[in-house]
Subunit: 290 residues, 2 copies
Amino acid sequence: MANERPRIGFIGLGLMGMGMARNVAKAGFPLTVFNRTRARAEALAGETGCALADTPRAVAEASDVVITMVSDVPDVEQVYLQGGGIREAARPGLTCVDMGTVGADAARRVAAALAEKGVAFVDAPVSGGSWGAEQGTLSIMAGGDEAAFAACLPVFEAMGKKIVHCGPVGMGQTTKLVNQIVGALNLEAVCEGLRFAQQSGANVEAVLDAVGAGAAGSWSWSNLGPRIAREDFAPGFKIDHQIKDLRLALEAAESMGLKLPGTRLVLEHLRTVQAAGGGEQGTQAMITVL
Amino acid sequence: MANERPRIGFIGLGLMGMGMARNVAKAGFPLTVFNRTRARAEALAGETGCALADTPRAVAEASDVVITMVSDVPDVEQVYLQGGGIREAARPGLTCVDMGTVGADAARRVAAALAEKGVAFVDAPVSGGSWGAEQGTLSIMAGGDEAAFAACLPVFEAMGKKIVHCGPVGMGQTTKLVNQIVGALNLEAVCEGLRFAQQSGANVEAVLDAVGAGAAGSWSWSNLGPRIAREDFAPGFKIDHQIKDLRLALEAAESMGLKLPGTRLVLEHLRTVQAAGGGEQGTQAMITVL
């Protein structure tokens, strides 16, 4: 296979996974996909000509590198470790990459279960939202040994523009939780700042322009601020998912004896929106609690 | 004066003002300065050949556009309105610009007191810290009428790279308070995220690199994060000043019936550092409370 492109498997075609898998296909990798809701897999096959498989195991049998992008810890464990899962297709040379956000502990558990069968594992969660997934501009934070990371790099380059090898298995997840903590508080910043501007009768367009260019500038300000200004709460990243990620971050922090009071405040705000039925909205809908 | 550069006066050569005034001189404007601690004014005169004045009034008498950059509301009122102040030099054609952060109410009070004497006033607070002041890359958020803004624009261009006319007098201040709210919470984000990374045993350099490139990126992350990582708490912007600005923001919010719980949390953290003797440190020293 040295001179050919590795065969890629992709499991999980949700808001993020669909855009990522499409970019893998567009980059010319042979691609086999599985999704729990089969219609989404069929749609991608119709569009790109990729192959369909009936189980995660069948994806792994057809692939050199298997990427998983599913929602939460139980889904990841099911896809890898339960009946019909990836582990049943274990063979030397197979590399698995989970790109969801599940925390370092879950990543290490899956890695250990695969290592027993000679299968390499990389945790490589991403940042950039569905917009970044579609445009192939994700940031990818990878944990794993050098050889496994090297095996994944070509396909990472089809999905992301910033790819960082952060350390051994688990360190991709740790870096991603840092990212979620920081993004959550940057979002609180945007919401409190814009609410202040609106209540003050300011010209919000001028405020967005002026503040974004200075020492208060951020990705959140430039990307979520304009959406908030026009009350566009369509999800680039859903409130339900941010709640899950902040829960993982706060659990990890607690286990280290670390208090993160700002992160906890943002989680409360997001839960208020979720309780009012807004969990499927984009995180920027958090401004409605202020 | 139409074809000549306006004569500029500059009052207040502190951490920010010194760099700003130096850039005004470097850009070739005739410059007269006053500073309460005269040695700083003499140092600038030695370096740039600018003129010295003994009072704010004398600065205004020698200038077409007077810039003030002093610390807090009482200082601004003194420089403009008390004995030896700028108002005593009032004449048509004089334009005054306060570039400190004093809140919209104070800006409107000074503007009204000057308007009685036919003097134009612009509030034009800045963002970018002393680093931005030195490099001439500040963001400038201006409030005032069109003619007064136009009179200031050439000298603004010597100090800043992003110059936004935000609306009438007071709206520069309002925009700046938005900026401070956002910057404060972006800083909380950096501190909570980096503390989590440090406690997790992560490679902080890799985390800084990976997170900065994605949806959690910000000016604060890229500029304060590396300083925190090497425990460099030298001030680009002092904790004492950020406390003053957040107090102004929370007072204005309260008067509008608006709660800003994240901003209030950051203010508490900053006051904890201040109470421990760290008020002269840069805002990034806030990480020491986590």
